[in-house]
């Protein structure tokens, strides 16, 4: 139980995760500090797969914060809550992680990514995608339900909240091509110049698709949220499905994505 999964960063990690940020600036701050700590986790240091995801997530959340300040959302109170609830689930998974086989409270889908932190090395893009998959396909529907429940509203299509929720797709679309270019190695540059646009489009589609699925799943969960047994069943099945995708992404097959 006391085994150290974060190596020399164990104490810093525990201290950081002792915070529970309650606003978007706080979430950005926490992700930024997390990024600094993750680059010190041996043996892969800055190359570990969680680092890749965290970096993407930080970029995206900074984008959300900028848009909140700029008044780009129709219902900022909703979006702020959602962002905080969403991030809380990622931090929860990190908190629950105590190594493979001894983290009963860590969702399968996150476990799939976390077990790869010490290696073997996998490509940055599939790693980031695995994190996005866990976060969007598993965490997001629950974050949506909690947020709506708290605000006393329903998840209705074409509402202000749905509009704001879809607006985040834009931020993903903006973040991912830039992030990809940062990862390119020389020999990949050629391939990218040939089909880069296509690839970016594919990436963007994938996230938009899964994000709409998350909205639909949230609506489904909303209907059974007072029925704890049914909610548990839904959670397990979402976890299993998303974990399956992650295993695929992190397998040698996932490297084809890169």
């Amino acid at each position: 139980m006391t085994q150290s999964v974060w190596g020399p960063a164990q104490q810093e990690m525990a201290d950081l995760l002792g915070n529970h940020p309650d606003d978007v600036p706080g979430v950005v701050e926490q992700l930024r500090e997390l990024q600094a700590i993750l680059t010190r986790v041996p043996p892969l240091l800055g190359e570990n797969p969680l680092c890749d995801f965290n970096k993407l997530y930080l970029t995206i959340t900074e984008g959300v914060l900028e848009r909140l300040y700029a008044g780009k959302f129709k219902d900022p109170a909703f979006l702020s809550r959602l962002d905080v609830e969403f991030a809380a689930r990622y931090f929860d998974a990190l908190r629950a992680w105590a190594g493979a086989g001894s983290s009963p409270r860590c969702p399968q889908v996150w476990t799939a990514l976390f077990t790869r932190i010490p290696g073997p090395d996998c490509r940055p893009l599939p790693s980031a995608c695995a994190g996005v998959n866990a976060h969007i396909n598993f965490d997001l529907p629950f974050a949506l339900v909690t947020t709506f429940d708290h605000l006393g509203r329903d998840p209705i299509d074409d509402s202000d909240q749905h509009h704001d929720y879809l607006e985040i797709n834009e931020i993903f679309a903006e973040s991912i091509p830039g992030l990809r270019r940062g990862y390119l190695e020389k020999w990949q540059l050629l391939i990218d110049m040939m089909n880069g646009c296509l690839d970016d489009w594919w990436q963007g589609e994938a996230i938009e698709y899964t994000r709409n699925v998350a909205w639909r799943n949230a609506q489904k969960l909303w209907g059974v949220r007072h029925d704890m047994a049914a909610t548990d069943r839904e959670r397990t099945s979402l976890d299993n499905t998303a974990a399956g995708v992650n295993k695929l992404l992190l397998s040698p097959l996932g490297a084809f994505l890169q």
């Binding site: 529970h20 339900v145 909690t146 006393g152």
Partner: protein, 938 residues
């Protein structure tokens, strides 16, 4: 046969227990405390609860214990009412409204506690219904008189996903008075200690090690495995399931039947019920229970039997054949029906449904729905109506009525989507209500769901449907006018309201008449025809007065007071109306909610016109109505605004904590005012970073059309930056840039606002422009002069005086117009003294001293060497606030509360509150003792 004595040794929890005791004993500023224990099943939460309850009882607490049920459909407030019943107090609540219910329950709790502090222990809180969660927040916010400590256990598994408690705990854990303890499994050494304690010292190390590996440090499992070791049983099974199943199989048949029966029941199972469920003769049954207890499956208490651990029930449930389970539930249902303890609809419906007998379940489900509605548990009622629908088929004649109930209860508990789909289903029924009725209901649900455009269409459809009676037509038009008003379409609202009023005068109910008048009055006022609007609403008050119905009176007075204090800015008259309305309702002894809301309007008005002591008294009055929910939040925010103004930091923090507690249950629209107050308080304490963080968070959560809210917030933000600049600290360029963007947004939007709103926004724009000049080191007196004019025109002395102070400061810094600056400073000083605005007064004095301006005869023109009393915390008086010291000084002079109130410009009641706090802090009981402490220290 008390179960407690058979508990095994408690290992590895001693420090935690001590910690929990002290957390529970140390009440926060609101006089309450709470510890939530989370952890996986079997980790020892319930045990920890029992141990703590026992220790607290010994320490002089009065203890009440309740358990939440996992039958999905528990009745509202079940665990608390159950606990009250067990202690012999009423536990049968009948109330006039939801707030009244909370009040009654807390009065029962008060009766249980007497003079002692009360510890409320709640196990399995993850199954608590919504009403129980609301009650908990109400109690923890200190809204009842009960000095309560809450100790609750929550299964960690349940907090994953989207459980409502997740959010509640996340918010509460920020409060100083709340602790969330995550109960971890035992480590290796602790497990070995537990094994040795149970099985003796002779246990082989490798055996103990194996127990640790198998149990994962879960004490419940480890203890059972240790018992096996001691009894020489070889345990081969690895899973929890196998461990317990092999053990159940060893039971003799009768005991086996008893364990299965209790597992299927809703705990606790009374002996009489068990006797009817298990077909055994009295002596055999008792023997069988004895064996089940001896084998540590069952615990027996005064009120009945329980399984020692619910984990066992879950294991057994998976093993029983469906037919067996159904038969057991049928016998339970029959036993409960035969029982003489009055029908428990929630339990009955659970058992009939599990027995697969929908027809027999239906009556109890409907009865349970009705009794949930009687307890204002609309969420629970909605669940019952929904299960009633699941129990009937399309052919059933009662389905139409059930659908109507299900739709309405969904609407009442905020499930608007569900309400609409039920209504669609209802419309398809052959015996559906008429078209007009359906349109009206759909429109109401749509409006509540925020889908205003579709709601408008539905009202139009209702109006044009052929079966619309004259009365319905009046009602639809009045609702539609109200909706248009909310949408800001004042001309349309005005026309519609006119029409509605004409119809309502002939055929409508008084409620419709009042609603139409209000819509007409407000739309007229917003269209800059205030006198016409005022006349209509005054007329509505007269009509309501004639009807004498408390609800109608309440609504009419509310509208009139809101119109006067809001768009018309006739605050004094609005305050008068609000207070008269509250008195009128009080004389009828009804309409408590309306009285509270009217007093809240009066207090807000009084605050704005600078009569703070009067506002204080009114708020005291309003709080005595024991408000709950949003009403309570509004009042606490208003009161906190006063504390911030008075400079009573402790009281301000207490109320902010109470607000945060209530908001943990939901209520996004109150978050911004809370953040604004937090920023204001932090600024008086020179905590610029805190103020900045609160404002910046607020900026991420404001809608771009909430111009007044943005105005207040941006002003606070700019002021925080200016204060930082003045204190020689760096200004945050990012924050400043974002604040400027907000101000621009405000300036761009102000043209579209209604005239009365525009005046307020303009006032904030002036303040922002002036504050920005201060933050950027320009500090222009002319900009402040404009702000002075704007707020003088609005007749709000506080922002006006604040602007005067800054205007004078800017002029003095530029060494220009010293005489005018001195006058402005003295005016501001007089205002601050009259309001009792202590921190503001101090600020004026320090500016005056810096520039050697004489404010009044009794104020020194240079800073005195003596440190300000609030900073000196070495003596006994250090824990008192500035205000409390002033009160104490007056007490020591021998003044009465009334005399003190007159001297300090606060109400007599407030003085009483301060004196109470002083006694608490100094731990004295009389005025003489308090005076002695003061005189010794001084």
């Amino acid at each position: 046969m008390a179960s407690e004595e058979e508990d095994g040794p408690l290992v590895g929890r001693a420090d935690l227990l001590t910690q929990i005791h002290s957390d529970l004993r140390n009440a926060g500023p609101g006089g309450t405390s709470a510890v939530f224990v989370t952890g996986e099943s079997g980790v020892g939460k319930s045990r920890l609860l029992r141990e703590t309850a026992r220790a607290m009882r010994d320490a002089g607490f009065s203890v009440l214990s309740g358990t939440c049920l996992d039958i999905g459909d528990a009745s509202p407030l079940h665990p608390v009412l159950q606990a009250l019943r067990q202690s012999g107090h009423s536990g049968r609540a009948v109330a006039a409204d939801a707030g009244d219910l909370l009040d009654r329950v807390s009065r029962d709790l008060h009766a249980v506690a007497g003079e002692q502090r009360l510890l409320l222990v709640l196990d399995d809180l993850q199954w608590a219904d919504r009403s129980t969660r609301q009650l908990l927040l109400y109690l923890l916010a200190g809204l009842s008189d009960v000095k309560i400590a809450v100790l609750a256990a929550v299964r960690a598994e349940a907090l994953q996903g989207a459980h409502p408690l997740r959010k509640v705990l996340a918010e509460l854990r920020r409060l100083r008075s709340v602790r969330v303890v995550d109960l971890a499994p035992l480590d290796r050494d602790q497990t070995v200690e537990l094994v040795t304690a149970v099985a003796g010292d002779t246990v082989e190390p490798e055996d103990a090690d194996r127990v640790y590996k198998r149990s994962g440090g879960n004490p419940f499992v480890a203890e059972e495995l240790a018992r096996d070791l001691r009894d020489g049983r070889v345990e081969l099974s690895d899973t929890l399931r196998e461990i317990f199943l092999s053990r159940v199989d060893e039971l003799p048949p009768n005991a086996h039947a008893v364990v299965h029966a209790i597992a299927a029941g809703v705990e606790p199972t009374e002996h009489a019920v068990l006797a009817r469920v298990v077909p055994l003769a009295e002596a055999e049954l008792i023997e069988a229970v004895r064996v089940a207890v001896a084998h540590r499956f069952v615990a027996s208490a005064e009120d009945g039997y329980r399984l020692r651990h619910r984990l066992v029930a879950e294991v057994l449930a998976a093993e029983v054949l469906p037919a067996e389970a159904a038969a057991l539930h049928r016998r339970f249902a029959e036993a409960l029906e035969e029982g003489d303890s009055g029908p428990d609809h929630a339990r009955l419906s659970h058992h009939w449904q599990q027995a697969g007998e929908p027809a027999r379940a239906l009556p109890s489900v409907v009865a349970a729905a009705r009794s949930a509605e009687a307890l204002y548990g609309f969420t629970e009622a909605h669940r019952y109506w929904s299960s009633a629908l699941e129990l009937t088929t399309d052919e059933a004649p009662e389905r139409t009525e059930l659908l109507a109930h299900a739709a309405e209860s969904a609407h009442q508990c905020g499930e608007h989507l569900r309400a609409l789909s039920r209504l669609d289903e209802l419309a398809l029924r052959a015996d559906a209500p008429g078209g007009c009725d359906l349109h009206l209901r759909r429109a109401r649900y749509l409006a509540a769901a925020g889908r205003t455009a579709t709601a408008e269409q539905e009202y139009e459809r209702a109006l044009s449907s052929p079966d619309c009676s004259l009365r319905q037509r009046a009602s639809a038009a009045a609702y539609l006018a109200e909706l248009l008003l909310h949408l800001g379409r004042y001309a349309d609202a005005n026309a519609r309201a006119q029409e509605a009023l004409e119809m309502a005068e002939v055929n409508g109910s008084t409620a419709d008449l009042v609603r139409a008048s209000a819509a007409l009055g407000f739309s007229a006022a917003f269209r800059e025809d205030p006198d016409a609007g005022l006349a209509v609403i005054r007329h509505a008050v007269e009509i309501a007065e004639r009807s004498g119905h408390p609800d109608e009176l309440g609504v009419a007075y509310l509208h009139l007071a809101e119109l006067l204090t809001g768009p018309l800015n006739s605050i004094e008259e609005g305050v008068l109306v609000a207070r008269r309305g509250a008195e009128r309702l009080a004389s009828l002894g009804a309409g408590r909610t309306y009285q509270t809301r009217l007093l809240a309007i009066a207090a807000k008005g009084l605050f704005r016109v600078g009569q703070w002591s009067e506002a204080d008294a009114v708020l005291d009055d309003a709080m005595r109505h024991r408000p709950s929910g949003a009403d309570a939040v509004e009042l606490l925010l208003s009161r906190c605004q006063l504390w911030v103004g008075f400079g009573d930091v402790d009281a301000a923090h207490r109320d902010l904590d109470a607000v945060a507690t209530l908001l943990a249950g939901g209520g996004a629209r109150h978050v911004l005012p809370m953040l604004t107050l937090r920023a204001g308080l932090a600024m008086w304490q020179a905590r610029h970073a805190e103020a900045r963080a609160a404002v910046q968070r607020g900026l991420t959560e404001t809608r771009s059309d909430d111009l007044v809210l943005i105005g207040v917030l941006a002003w606070h933000g700019l002021r925080a930056e200016a204060e930082a600049h003045a204190a020689g600290q760096p200004v945050d360029p990012g924050a400043l840039r974002r604040l400027k963007v907000s101000v621009e947004r405000m300036a761009a939007g102000v043209g579209n606002a209604a005239a009365p709103v525009r005046a307020t926004i303009d006032g904030y724009l002036d303040l922002c422009a002036a504050e920005l000049s201060r933050a950027e080191g320009r500090h222009e007196p002319d900009l402040w002069a404009r702000a002075v004019q704007a707020w003088d025109r609005r007749r709000q002395p506080y922002p006006a005086a604040y602007s005067r102070l800054r205007q004078a400061e800017a002029a003095l810094q530029r060494r220009s117009r010293r005489a005018a600056a001195t006058t402005a400073l003295r005016e501001a000083y007089a205002t601050a003294i009259a309001m009792g605005a202590q921190p503001f007064r101090n600020e004026i004095v320090s500016v005056a001293q810096r520039h050697r301006v004489a404010l009044a005869d009794d104020v020194p023109t240079v800073p005195m060497p003596a440190p300000s009393p609030a900073l000196d915390s070495s003596d006994e008086l250090g824990m008192l606030t500035l205000r409390e010291r002033e009160v104490l000084a007056a007490v020591a002079e021998g003044l009465t509360n009334r005399e003190i109130g007159e001297r300090l410009f606060i109400s007599e009641r407030t003085v009483g509150v301060h004196v109470g706090h002083i006694f608490d802090k100094l731990q004295v009981r009389t005025r003489v003792q308090a005076s002695r402490v003061y005189l010794t220290a001084a």
